[in-house]
């Protein structure tokens, strides 16, 4: 239970921020504070979208030149709501060591195709042994319900195993035939209950070029990033309009406190409400 809660910590951040923001909007009488609350509320949504788009182990969705001709991002949306916190101990080291050049680790063709086609669970053990990483066990343990067959105990014995964490360190530019793939494994480990749905859909949308994207790098899903950039722009615009209206309110009423404003309006209700400019 505790693990269940901790593993989704970013969702908790989203919820807490969202409630804080809404509460500020409703409870604060100062107009500027209301806008700040609104901003916090919107920020929670940004974080929510970033969480959706994150693929564990995936790098920022920026095209890397080496793979210039294969510029399709790894298809679909893999809901990586788990970051290194739920990776096994062995994997944790790998990530920390390889974090800076994780993007140079390619997916094996079969591996990626299998993930893209939503068959990850069954396909894993069929891949060449090297395709599984040392952390496979811990990953699979985390998400047994999504990947019932993905306990690659044989993987640990594979000779390729050693290549995995080391190879990228040795070579600046990895070649696609290094079959080991951290990212591929981690995709399978997006242990949230909806991940099976998501994988199925990835297949639906992008199965067409799954094979072609196979040798590519693992990226985070770029679409939520784009969406949230749009939403940020909207948020900035809203803040700007809101604050400028607050400035105008201050000019017209001499206060930005809601209670005082209401009082002034009520007072004005009995006579004719005075316009900003003395009426003609």
């Amino acid at each position: 239970m505790v693990e269940f809660i901790l593993a989704r910590y970013n969702y908790w951040i989203v919820i807490i921020l969202m409630m804080m923001g809404l509460y500020i909007v409703f409870s604060r009488g100062n107009l500027v504070k209301t806008i700040i609350g609104l901003n916090i509320f919107q920020t929670s949504v940004f974080i929510f979208y970033i969480t959706i788009g994150k693929v564990a182990g995936g790098t920022a969705p920026i095209l890397i030149k080496t793979y210039g001709d294969k510029d399709k991002e790894h298809g679909g949306d893999h809901h990586g709501d788990h970051h290194s916190d739920d990776h096994g101990a062995s994997h944790g080291e790998v990530v920390s060591e390889e974090g800076h050049n994780a993007h140079t680790e390619p997916l094996s063709a079969e591996d990626a195709a299998a993930f893209v086609s939503g068959d990850a669970a069954n396909a894993l053990p069929l891949n060449e042994p090297g395709a599984s990483t040392p952390d496979g066990e811990s990953q699979a343990a985390d998400s047994l319900h999504t990947l019932p067959d993905a306990t690659p105990s044989n993987a640990l014995t594979a000779p390729d195993l050693v290549n995995g964490p080391i190879a990228p360190r040795v070579e600046e530019v990895t070649v696609p035939d290094i079959a080991l793939s951290l990212g591929g494994e981690e995709q399978g480990s997006t242990g949230a209950s909806h991940s099976n749905v998501a994988h199925g859909d990835a297949a639906h949308a992008d199965g067409g070029y799954g094979a072609e994207a196979a040798a590519d790098i693992l990226y985070s899903n770029p679409l939520p990033h784009v969406l949230i950039l749009t939403a940020i722009v909207v948020g900035v615009a809203t803040t700007a309009v809101g604050l400028s209206i607050a400035v105008r309110i201050r000019e017209a009423y001499g206060t930005v406190e809601e209670d005082a404003l209401e009082q002034l309006d009520n007072a004005a209700e009995f006579g004719a409400a005075p316009g900003e400019v003395p009426s003609r």
Binding site: V45, L223, G242, I245
Partner: protein, 498 residues
């Protein structure tokens, strides 16, 4: 690349592209001439699109040549084409009206900014209708909302309360939009797509908490935007204090477009088969009915005529929700018809209110004393549109209420149909009460001493007259539109898929 293949995108692009150009024009009359010309061009293309869609069925347009579901797709079905034509025609009527009214209420100093804001708002509203991409709906909703906040605030020249009204609208509108985005995020998480048709395909048969939460967020968010009864707090103030031309345009289009977006999400995206739908529809019956009565009752006791009509708008949204809540193609068709007809009557009514303000400098009921003698044309327009609001035969309002009642009898509802029909009629009687109060002042009170009949600028008279005439015309000859709405509703409720 013939013009007809670009038609779906034309009504969005025309105002959107011309809005920044409008800012560059010199102060004075030029921006108005420009904006009016654009609004007419847009109206022509939107009507052409309506005829085109009525002929060949739904039209799909791939933005930038990227096909869906990956690209952004504009998809216009019959209901969409009707709503789009409605918005464009309203703009074409309100822009000419705006000339004198805005020069009087806002001044000509800010006219380039005012008209470009107006165009942006217009473009956003059309965009919501045109797009077939769920996230794009949010973007266009915000484009129109952001400009609306500023437009409402421009009413401050007459009454500084416009500023607080705009601020409240901004806060609530943003919360609504953000709720909508949260819902979209959840749906995206569950399906991995944002294309509406695609969403529908993948949501079919799915029923889990993610989808349910997404549904709830989207319905609440859109509910805020369309002023569903308990979420309507922003509407009366915003409509009351905005400049008259802005109110006439917003009342006729903004909530209507949100209703259409709601229809689209309920029926095209989620579909009748969605397990959670019953809960929502039952809620809509309840909220629709409460809204009809509560808002109408408030309207009866308002002395500010503009405010009275604004509350009446909230009540009328209740009728639309009621139509949706029946969950039948008949009900949806009635809701669409009411969207259309309510836009006609509210545009005419708010134009009349603006005309009265132009002459008397007041929205208060006392300013309407003896208006039948002072401003016979305006008073006549007000009364005809008011009758349409009540739902008197031979006016547009009658048609949609008739359809609504018919749909109520045909639908299977949690409560007795007869009960609902009686409530519809009873709330119409409340409309008699508040329109009657104004009518009494206009025709049965004597005008104050020493005031004579006043001349109105023709740019205000003509749009008002056209709107009033439309109320009568669509009350007499609703056959074409009704059958179109019916076709569209059938299409919507089949999930929008061909």
């Amino acid at each position: 690349m013939s013009l007809i293949s670009q038609l779906p995108v034309l009504p969005v692009l025309l105002p959107l592209v011309s809005a920044p150009l409008c800012v560059l024009l010199p102060k004075g009359r030029m921006p108005w001439v420009f904006a009016t010309a654009i609004s007419w061009l847009t109206a022509i293309s939107a009507v052409a699109l309506l005829f085109h869609v009525a002929e060949v069925g739904s039209v799909t347009y791939n933005m930038g040549g990227w096909a869906g579901p990956l690209g952004i797709v504009y998809r216009i079905d019959i209901v969409g084409a009707i709503v789009m034509a409605l918005v464009a025609l309203m703009a074409a009527a309100v822009f000419p009206y705006a000339k004198e009214s805005v020069a009087f209420e806002v001044g000509t100093e800010q006219s380039p900014a005012f008209y470009s804001l107006f165009l942006v708002c217009f473009a956003g509203l059309i965009g919501v209708v045109a797009t077939g991409d769920a996230f794009n709906v949010f973007v266009f909703l915000e484009i129109s909302s952001l400009s609306t906040y500023a437009l409402v605030a421009l009413g401050a020249k007459q009454d500084r309360r416009a500023l607080t009204a705009a601020f409240t609208y901004l806060v609530l509108g943003t919360i609504g939009a953000t709720f909508f985005v949260i819902g979209l995020g959840l749906l995206y998480q569950a399906t991995g797509t944002l294309n509406m048709t695609d969403l529908h395909e993948r949501l079919t048969g799915q029923d889990n908490r993610v989808v349910r939460a997404g549904f709830a967020f989207i319905v609440t968010g859109l509910g805020l935007k369309l002023a569903m009864f308990p979420l309507h707090k922003w509407l009366p103030d915003a409509y009351t204090f905005a400049p008259s031309a802005v109110t006439a345009f917003l009342a006729a289009t903004a909530t209507k477009v949100a209703v259409y977006a709601m229809l689209r999400f309920l029926f095209t995206v989620f579909g009748f088969t969605f397990a959670f739908m019953d809960v929502a529809l039952t809620l809509f019956i309840l909220l629709g009915l409460t809204g009809m009565f509560a808002a109408s009752l408030i309207a009866v006791f308002r002395d500010d005529v503009k405010q009275m009509l604004a509350f009446s708008s909230v009540a009328q949204v209740g009728y639309m929700l009621l139509g949706i809540s029946f969950g039948t193609p008949e009900g949806v068709a009635a809701a669409v018809m009411h969207v259309f007809n309510h836009a006609l009557m509210k545009a005419a009514l708010f134009m009349a209110v603006g005309a009265v303000f132009y002459v008397t400098l007041s929205h208060h009921l006392s300013a309407y004393k003896g208006l039948g003698k002072r401003m016979p044309f305006t008073a006549a327009c007000f009364i005809i549109a008011g009758l349409s609001l009540i739902g008197v035969p031979f006016t547009a309002g009658f048609i949609s209420k008739y359809l609504l009642i018919q749909a109520a009898f045909e639908a299977t509802l949690p409560v007795s149909s007869l009960f609902i029909v009686m409530l519809i009629v009873a709330s119409s009687l409340l409309a008699v009460a508040y329109i009657g109060r104004v009518a009494y002042e206009m025709f049965l009170s004597d005008p104050p001493e020493g005031v004579n009949q006043v001349e109105m600028p023709w740019t205000m008279m003509v749009p008002m007259g056209v709107m009033t005439a439309a109320n009568i015309y669509f009350g007499m000859d609703a056959e074409t539109l009704t059958s179109l709405a019916r076709q569209g509703a059938d299409l919507l409720s089949m999930g929008g898929a061909k």
